[in-house]
């Protein structure tokens, strides 16, 4: 029987206001093996830790249970405290009586009862804890950034400037991302391309940055410091070394049918294309689904005209494998689909557009060469209605529950720019709230209202009805005047909610990075570790983590870079000893554990075993403890229970369950 000490933390009033901590101490003393129990206002404080130290020495403790907050907060603190005082750190168990108990209960009696049960489970477990030793692993001094928008570019630049090599993987033919599609940026109204392209050029010419465009991450294995990543370089059908970027191929290409993604499908492009003039690399790709040559074997015009001989119809996808120490996810966002918002007539009228489409219309390189005109008849609109929060802050399942955060500001920007350039055009904005927290943001919005005469109406639009004369009848409500509004408009712009790029699910799965119900990647801690994923070695940059504007994205990109640099600067990392281990005599060698292992940590060896006198060769699972992340998938898959997770063994878990059910 181990000598166990139980330490119950008040966490100020966080725990003590709801849990009778004295009662927990009293009950702990009744548990088998518990030779010491006490409570203290802040166990994590110096004073609290010294009480633990003293108890270890005086009572010769062989195991510790700390009833406190989540192990994600202070498990490391208490493990270090144990280690300093001669106790193996893995003989410490945390009973989470804060997040799992005091914070979610109101009734003191019930909460105390639960706290006692959680304490009992931890005591039952710690009796079976094995002293474990952490190993060491080397760090590959190279980082991968997934996504080549402003978030990815900035992260890559900051890491590269610190002297570490970075690869950017971008699925589009060019880096630049959403920011490259924007016309002007708030709150300074400088041209988006003018501030983005220098960064793109800098990334492209940086000696520490390698850019893989038209490429996707195919497979990720390994762990913090030692990731192995397969990158699919999609067939471009254009030799990147030979192409001079002259553009004649795009001019001559007879297939002009595909919708231009960069212009949000508002016009068409050729089958061989670069998405925009400042694309990096300035090497086109052939859209295989639209290319006449690739589909019928006839045509070959681009090849004929290419002076450099760069066209290569036989090119195949190529998979390259690289090693990385850290991975940054910067996969960005897209606007939501508006199929569920029939009332805004987006699918019915060409003159109902999204704000991102308006960006392209306002842009000199866009489908209308920067002229503000209706897409239906090319006429200049005289009445424009903006509708805010389309799909944002939505309480039903048509949209998103969150605020997309950028719409108030870009709508003010659009309204201001239109009023400035076309003073005879009236602009009305329907809003729920105008949210402008940010440096110089509210001033910007007020300028739109006060200096540019933009008509802001607090209220929502119930219906946009296309009229036979081509105009749009907007049925709205003015909540301040408490009246219904019927407004004829020539154009309606929808501030469409943004959502994480749908690809992020696939990537998160590969990285085993967690994702929330809205597909945003989850931070390790929402306040204190906002740029780290809970998966060690995976970092978050930009909108993949949550809605944010450009300055915030750039700031977060820098923060993610700092975390990566901090990791790559280390020569060795301590590995988690809570890894799986196979019991040789129980193992069937059936491969089921290897099939479910997300880390590729399990292989098989033929071993000579002596099973109670039966000597034979058997196929037995072997876990690579450097690759194993201790997820436990193998232990629950193993039919014979041969796989066990150190620190979370089957026996320990059953002991916890038994203690809870006692």
């Amino acid at each position: 029987m181990r000598r166990i000490g139980v330490f119950v933390c008040h966490c100020g009033s966080n725990i003590a206001a709801t849990v009778d901590v004295k009662k927990v101490v009293e009950m702990a003393l009744l548990e088998q093996g518990v030779v010491h129990a006490e409570d203290y206002p802040y166990m994590c404080s110096e004073a609290g830790q010294s009480r633990i130290a003293e108890a270890i020495r005086e009572k010769q403790l062989e195991g510790i249970v700390v009833c406190s907050c989540s192990p994600r907060m202070h498990e490391a603190t208490f493990r270090k405290c144990a280690e300093r005082n001669g106790l193996n750190p893995y003989l410490v168990e945390i009973a989470n009586i804060r997040e799992h108990c005091s914070w979610i209960h109101k009734d003191m009696q019930e909460a105390t009862e639960k706290a006692v049960i959680l304490m009992r489970a931890a005591v039952a477990k710690v009796h079976l804890n094995a002293p474990l030793l952490a190993g060491e692993s080397a760090v590959t001094k190279r980082a991968l950034v997934i996504g080549g928008g402003i978030a990815g570019i900035q992260t890559a630049l900051d890491i590269a400037d610190a002297g570490y090599h970075v690869d950017i993987v971008e699925k589009e033919p060019s880096i630049g991302g959403r920011m490259s599609q924007l016309d002007k940026t708030f709150p300074t109204l400088d041209c988006s391309a003018c501030i983005l392209t220098p960064k793109m050029v800098e990334a492209a010419s940086h000696e520490n940055i390698t850019i893989h465009t038209w490429s996707e991450v195919e497979k990720v294995s390994g762990f913090v410091g030692n990731f192995t990543v397969d990158i699919r370089k999609k067939a471009r059908y254009v030799n990147m070394d030979k192409c001079t970027g002259c553009g004649i191929c795009q001019e001559k290409c007879p297939s002009k049918k595909p919708l231009n993604e960069f212009n949000r499908g508002l016009n068409n492009r050729s089958a061989i294309y670069t998405p925009f003039a400042q694309a990096i690399p300035n090497v086109p790709v052939i859209d295989a689904s639209a290319c006449i040559k690739l589909n019928t074997g006839k045509c070959g015009i681009c090849e004929k005209f290419c002076q450099a001989g760069a066209i290569d119809y036989k090119q195949q996808d190529e998979i390259i494998t690289e090693q990385y120490g850290a991975i940054v996810v910067a996969t960005g966002f897209d606007t939501i689909k508006l199929d569920k918002y029939g009332e805004y007539a987006y699918n019915e009228s060409k003159d109902v557009i999204t704000s991102l489409e308006l960006e392209r219309i306002m842009n000199a390189a866009g489908p209308t060469k920067g002229h503000l005109e209706r897409l239906s008849d090319g006429k200049a609109p005289k009445e424009i209605v903006f509708i805010q929060c389309v799909g944002s802050r939505c309480s039903d399942d048509r949209g998103k529950p969150y605020c997309s955060k950028i719409c108030c500001m870009y709508t003010a920007k659009h309204a201001m720019l239109i009023r400035d350039k076309y003073p005879d055009t009236n602009v009305t904005v329907f809003y729920i709230d105008v949210r402008t927290p940010g440096k110089n943001f509210d001033e910007f919005y007020r300028r739109a209202v006060e200096d540019y005469g933009v008509n802001y109406v607090k209220g929502q639009v119930g219906k946009v009805a296309p009229q036979p004369d081509g105009s749009l009848l907007v049925h709205g409500v003015d909540l301040l005047e408490n009246k219904q509004i019927l407004k004829k408009a020539d154009m309606v712009v929808l501030a469409t909610a943004i959502e994480p790029n749908p690809d992020v699910r696939k990537i998160a799965t590969m990285l085993t990075a967690s994702i929330d119900t809205n597909n945003f990647l989850t931070e390790a801690h929402p306040k204190l570790r906002p740029v780290e994923s809970p998966t060690a070695g995976v970092f978050l940059s930009g909108v993949c983590q949550g809605p944010k504007d450009i300055p915030e994205t750039v700031a977060q990109a820098g923060a993610a870079a700092v975390k990566v640099i901090g990791l790559l600067a280390k020569d060795k990392l301590k590995t988690n000893p809570c890894t799986a281990k196979a019991d040789e005599l129980r193992c069937n060698g059936c491969s089921q554990c290897a099939n479910v292992c997300p880390y590729g940590a399990i292989s098989y060896e033929t071993k000579q075993v002596n099973d109670h006198g039966i000597r034979e060769e058997r196929r037995i699972a072997v876990v690579n403890s450097a690759l194993c992340q201790g997820c436990g998938a193998c232990t629950v898959t193993c039919p014979s229970g041969a796989m066990d997770l150190q620190g979370f063994s089957n026996r320990q878990i059953i002991a916890e369950v038994d203690a809870i059910c006692r």
Binding site: T517, L585, N595, V596, P639
Partner: protein
């Protein structure tokens, strides 16, 4: 049957195989047993008829450890079990010479409708039963095992050669009984399982015959989990054995039906497994364990677009 013996003798004589794994005459005509035959002489007791329901695949785990090849006779449905065991690296294909034998449905002694059976004569479509209480006749089809009424097909999934023709026996919907239970209320379901499983005497026959239950050390026999020596708190708790066993073989069970065939208490144990198979088919697309050596099993592979049945409930 004679052609099987002739072929077995040839293979033994040529030295291609070291032994034969088949069925041997039992005490009565209706209870042949699984046996290894080491020479031509011993093959005089070899039998292959409607009562040879036993699936020989599992015996190949031990036979794979022996010197030389073993000739094994596999019915079409047994061949699924063999492929599944190959997939799990439990049998060595190189150590097996597989004759895929034809099958025309196997018999369930319990369906003969007689007690104290002395002898059963298989006369084409009719079974002539003589018992302590008199003689009777039963149509072959009416005495077939449930699994044969929902047969997976006449194709052998693995073989070196085939002998004898198979017959079509399917005349029931494989999942009808599962659907009937699914439609019950939770109380009805509990009552149903309570009544069925409380017949269990824990003889372990289902586990011992099951080709998927091939662990070197079964968790129920192990001292590693503090669960083996526990007293039951309710009469139903012991029966959790069957539910746990169903979980352990989920995604690997080929639905060979041996569990139900050997159960001395007549519990329809295969229904648990079939419920899992039905759910797997619904959630991850049609899957038949043991049909394909290379195919990934839905429960031990992960695709990003996999159904997340737990998450659906949010």
């Amino acid at each position: 049957m004679q052609e099987l013996i002739v072929r077995a003798k040839e293979l033994l004589a040529s030295g291609q195989v070291a032994r034969v794994l088949g069925w041997k005459k039992g005490e009565h005509s209706y209870d042949p047993e699984v046996a290894f035959f080491n020479d031509a002489e011993s093959l005089q007791d070899f039998v292959y008829d409607g009562f040879c329901g036993a699936n020989l695949s599992k015996y190949m785990i031990e036979a794979s450890k022996l010197e030389g090849k073993t000739l094994v006779f596999l019915k079409p449905c047994d061949s699924y079990s063999f492929v599944q065991l190959m997939k799990e690296h439990r049998v060595d294909r190189e150590k097996a010479y597989i004759i895929g034998v034809g099958c025309w449905g196997k018999l369930d002694v319990r369906k003969l409708g007689a007690e104290g059976i002395l002898d059963v004569e298989i006369a084409g479509d009719v079974l002539k039963v003589s018992s302590l209480y008199g003689d009777s006749e039963v149509a072959y089809k009416d005495a077939m095992l449930e699994r044969c009424h929902v047969c997976k097909g006449k194709e052998h999934k693995v073989f070196d050669e085939t002998l004898l023709e198979s017959a079509d026996t399917v005349d029931l919907d494989r999942f009808a009984e599962v659907e009937r239970i699914e439609a019950m209320s939770p109380e009805e379901k509990f009552a149903y399982f309570q009544s069925e499983l409380s017949k269990c005497i824990r003889c372990n026959a289902c586990r011992n015959v099951c080709p998927a239950c091939s662990c070197r050390k079964c968790v129920f026999d192990s001292t590693a989990f503090n669960s083996e020596q526990k007293a039951n708190t309710t009469s139903f708790e012991e029966k959790m054995f069957h539910i746990i066993r169903a979980f352990h073989v989920a995604g690997r069970c080929t639905d060979c039906g041996e569990c139900s065939r050997v159960c001395p208490q007549g519990i329809p144990l295969h229904l648990f497994n079939r419920k899992f198979i039905k759910d797997i088919n619904r959630l991850y697309g049609e899957y038949q364990a043991g049909a394909d050596l290379e195919e990934k099993a839905p429960l031990t592979s992960f695709q990003t677009d996999d159904a997340e049945p737990g998450a659906d409930r949010r």
